[in-house]
C-alpha cells in the first residue's frame, strides 16, 4: 500500500514539475523571439533536417493505406472511392505519424542534448551566468517544434497523397485525377484546420516532454540514455492520449 501511495505521490510531483516546466517555458516566448538566432537554429534543425525522413515516411504511409484500402474496396466493387483514404491521411495519419517521427528524432535529441548538459553541469553554468536555462534551451525548441510540426504535417500529407495516388493508379486502377477529385470533393477546410491545430499541440508536447526529461537527467551517461528512452516513450504516449481528447473537442467546435 505504501508503494502505491509513494507512486501516486511521485506521479503528482512529476505532473507538478511538468506543469511548472511548461509554464516557465511558455513565459519566456518573448525572450526566444528576441534571440531569433537560437530560434532559427532550432527551426532549421526541426524543419529542414526532418524533410527527408518525413517525406519518405509520408510516401510509404500513403502507399500502405491505398494498398490495403484498395484491396478492401475492391471486394465491394467500390474502388472509385479510394480517394477517400486521402481524408484519413489528413485527419489522423499525417499529424500522428509526423508527431511520432518528431518524437523519435527531435524529442530524443532534446532529451539527450539537454540531459548531457545537465550531467556535465552546463545548465548550472548557465544559471551562474544569469541566463535562465528554460528560456535559453527550452523555449526556442518548444516554439520550433510547435510551429514547424504543422508545416511538416502538410508536407507529409502531400507526400502521402502522392504515394497514395500512385498506388491507386497502378494497383487499384483509379486515375490520379479521379483520386484527387474525390479527395478535394470531400475535404473541408475545417478538417484541415483541425489537423494543423492538433499538430501544433503535438509539437509543443514533444518538445516539452523531451526537454523535461533532459532537465531531469541524473546519473551520467546512463541517466542520459534513460532520459532519451523515457522522452520517446512518454512523448508517443502523450501524443496519442492528447490526440484522443483534442479530437473529441475539435470535432464539435
Amino acid at each position: 500500500m505504501t508503494w502505491l501511495i509513494e507512486g501516486a505521490k511521485g506521479v503528482c510531483v512529476a505532473a507538478c514539475d511538468v506543469g511548472a516546466f511548461a509554464l516557465a517555458s511558455v513565459r519566456h516566448i518573448g525572450y526566444a523571439l528576441r534571440r531569433h538566432k537560437l530560434l532559427f537554429k532550432q527551426l532549421h534543425e526541426v524543419g529542414n533536417r526532418s524533410l527527408l525522413i518525413v517525406g519518405v515516411f509520408g510516401l510509404f504511409v500513403g502507399l500502405i493505406l491505398v494498398l490495403y484500402g484498395g484491396d478492401q474496396l475492391r471486394r465491394f466493387g467500390q474502388e472509385k472511392y479510394i480517394g477517400l483514404t486521402g481524408l484519413a491521411i489528413v485527419w489522423e495519419f499525417g499529424p500522428v505519424f509526423t508527431a511520432f517521427i518528431l518524437a523519435g528524432r527531435i524529442g530524443s535529441s532534446y532529451a539527450a542534448e539537454i540531459g548531457t548538459m545537465r550531467v556535465s553541469e552546463e545548465i548550472d553554468a548557465l544559471h551562474a551566468m544569469g541566463i535562465r536555462p528554460e528560456a535559453y534551451l527550452v523555449t526556442p525548441r518548444l516554439l520550433a517544434c510547435a510551429l514547424l510540426l504543422p508545416v511538416l504535417v502538410v508536407y507529409a500529407d502531400f507526400a502521402a497523397l502522392l504515394g497514395g495516388a500512385g498506388m491507386a493508379w497502378f494497383y487499384v486502377h483509379v486515375a490520379p485525377r479521379e483520386f484527387f477529385r474525390l479527395f478535394f470533393q470531400y475535404l473541408e477546410f475545417q478538417e484541415m484546420a483541425r489537423s494543423l491545430a492538433k499538430s501544433f499541440i503535438f509539437g509543443a508536447i514533444i518538445a516539452t516532454v523531451g526537454c523535461f526529461h533532459g532537465f531531469r537527467t541524473t546519473g551520467g551517461a546512463e541517466g542520459v540514455g534513460r532520459s532519451t528512452t523515457a522522452s520517446v516513450v512518454h512523448g508517443l504516449l502523450a501524443v496519442l492520449v492528447a490526440d484522443y481528447f483534442i479530437s473529441r473537442i475539435l470535432l464539435v467546435l
Binding site: 510531483v13 512529476a14 505532473a15 507538478c16 514539475d17 511538468v18 506543469g19 481528447f245 473537442i249 464539435v252
Partner: protein, 397 residues
C-alpha cells in the same frame, strides 16, 4: 514536497475533469449559447438517440439534445425530443418534424420539412406540433413480406389450377384434351390446313372468283364502279326514306298519319264484325245460304223477276218503253261520253277526282274514303236484306 504533490494533484485533477468533459462535449454548445432549443413529441422514435442529427432539406441544422418518454401522455405524443437548432436556422410553426432512417444499415435522424413560409418563426423552448414518424425498415420489410405472401398464395392457387388442367389434358379428360389427343381431329385439322394452303395458292395465282377479285385489276376497277353506284343508290334510298319519315308524298302520309291509321283500323274492325255476323249465320246473306225458307223465298223472287223481265221485253210497260226507246239510248250514250271525259280528267289529275287520285291531298281524300267505306259497311249491316234483294235482281240479269 507536499506543495508539489498538491499542485500535481490539482493539475492531474484538472486534466481528469477536462478529459471527462470531452465525453459531454456534444452538449457544450448549449452552454456556449449557440443555437436554440425546440421540442417535438412523437409516438415513437425507433432507434433515434441523443446526439443524432437534425436535417432540413438534407442539410444538418442541429442535433437531438434530449429524449424523454412520458407514459402519462397520449400514446401518439409520448416521446418528447428536445432539438438543438443552429441559431441562424429558422424553423416555422408549419414545419414538420419527421423521424426518418439514415440508411438501411440503421441509424435515425429527424428531418424538418418546410411548411408554409408565412407561418410564425419558432423560438427557444417552442414546440413543433406538426410531427410524424416514417416507417422503419422492419415495418417496411413486414409489409413487403405480407404482400409477397399474398402474391405467393395467388401463384400457388394458379399453379394448382394449371396442374389440374395439365393433369386433365394428360389424362384425356374434357373437350380440349380430346381435341389434343384425338388423331382423327388432328387429321382433319391437317386436312383443313392443307385446304387453306391450296386456297391461298389459288388466291395468289388469281384463280377463282376471290382470286380474281384480289389479283385482277380490271375486276377491282369494276368493283370500284359498282361500289360507287351502290353508294349513289344508297344515297337516293336515304332521301326517299327521309321523305317518308317527313311524311312527304302519299306513302309517306300513309305511314305517318295516325288518324288515317285509326280509320283503317276501325274499318278493319267493322269488316271483322261483319264477317263474324256472317259466320254466326246472322243477317240475310248467311240465312240465304243456310235457311231453306229464305232460299225458297229467293227462288220465288227470282221467278217473279223473270216475269217482270218478260214484261219489260214486250215494251208494253213503262220500263219496256224506256228500254226500247232511241231517246233513252242516246241519253245513255251521252252519259257514257261524259263518263269517258271524266275518266281522262282523272287520269291527267285534273278535276276533283283526278286531284284526289294524283295529288298529295290524297291523304285527306283517302281518309274520307275510309269513312265512306265505314259508312257503307255500316249501311250494309243495317240494310243487308236490301242488298240481298239487289244481288238477286242483278243475278237475274
Amino acid at each position: 514536497m507536499a506543495r508539489k504533490v498538491l499542485l500535481g494533484m490539482l493539475l492531474l485533477g484538472a486534466l481528469f475533469v477536462f478529459g471527462l468533459a470531452t465525453f459531454y462535449v456534444e452538449n457544450w454548445q448549449r452552454y456556449l449559447g449557440k443555437g436554440y432549443r425546440l421540442r417535438a413529441s412523437f409516438a415513437l422514435v425507433h432507434a433515434l438517440d441523443e446526439g443524432d442529427v437534425v436535417r432540413m432539406a438534407g442539410v444538418e441544422v442541429g442535433a437531438v439534445e434530449d429524449l424523454r418518454i412520458d407514459t402519462e401522455a397520449p400514446a401518439e405524443r409520448q416521446v418528447e425530443a428536445t432539438l438543438r437548432i443552429k441559431k441562424d436556422i429558422k424553423v416555422r410553426a408549419e414545419d414538420k418534424a419527421i423521424v426518418k432512417m439514415s440508411s438501411v444499415f440503421g441509424g435515425n435522424y429527424i428531418a424538418i420539412e418546410s411548411g408554409e413560409r408565412t407561418a410564425a418563426v419558432l423560438g427557444d423552448g417552442d414546440e413543433m406540433t406538426n410531427t410524424a414518424v416514417a416507417p422503419s425498415i422492419t415495418e417496411v420489410a413486414e409489409t413487403a413480406r405480407a404482400t409477397l405472401s399474398e402474391i405467393k398464395e395467388g401463384f400457388d392457387k394458379a399453379f394448382e389450377e394449371i396442374a389440374s388442367v395439365t393433369k386433365d389434358l394428360r389424362e384425356g379428360e374434357g373437350a380440349l384434351a380430346l381435341l389434343l389427343t384425338d388423331k382423327e381431329f388432328g387429321e382433319k385439322v391437317r386436312g383443313a390446313v392443307d385446304g387453306l394452303s391450296k386456297a391461298a395458292g389459288r388466291l395468289e395465282e388469281g384463280q377463282g372468283m376471290l382470286g380474281k377479285l384480289v389479283m385482277d385489276d380490271q375486276l377491282a376497277a369494276d368493283l370500284g364502279t359498282l361500289t360507287a353506284d351502290a353508294k349513289e343508290l344508297t344515297a337516293n334510298l336515304k332521301n326517299v326514306s327521309k321523305d317518308l319519315r317527313d311524311g312527304k308524298g302519299t306513302i309517306g302520309k300513309l305511314l305517318t298519319d295516325e288518324e288515317l291509321y285509326g280509320q283503317v283500323k276501325e274499318s278493319m274492325g267493322t269488316i271483322s264484325d261483319a264477317a263474324a255476323l256472317f259466320k254466326e249465320g246472322k243477317g240475310a246473306l248467311p240465312m240465304l245460304l243456310e235457311d231453306e225458307k229464305v232460299a225458297e223465298d229467293v227462288r220465288l223472287l227470282v221467278a217473279d223477276a223473270r216475269k217482270v223481265s218478260a214484261k219489260l221485253t214486250d215494251t208494253g210497260g213503262t220500263l219496256g218503253k224506256l228500254l226500247a226507246s232511241d231517246e233513252a239510248y242516246e241519253r245513255l250514250m251521252s252519259a257514257l261520253d261524259d263518263l269517258g271525259k271524266t275518266t281522262a280528267a282523272i287520269a291527267e289529275g285534273r278535276g276533283t277526282v283526278g286531284k284526289l287520285v294524283m295529288s298529295d291531298e290524297l291523304y285527306g281524300q283517302i281518309a274520307q274514303l275510309m269513312q265512306d267505306i265505314q259508312g257503307i259497311v255500316d249501311a250494309y249491316r243495317e240494310q243487308s236484306p236490301v242488298v240481298t234483294l239487289g244481288g238477286a235482281l242483278f243475278g237475274a240479269f
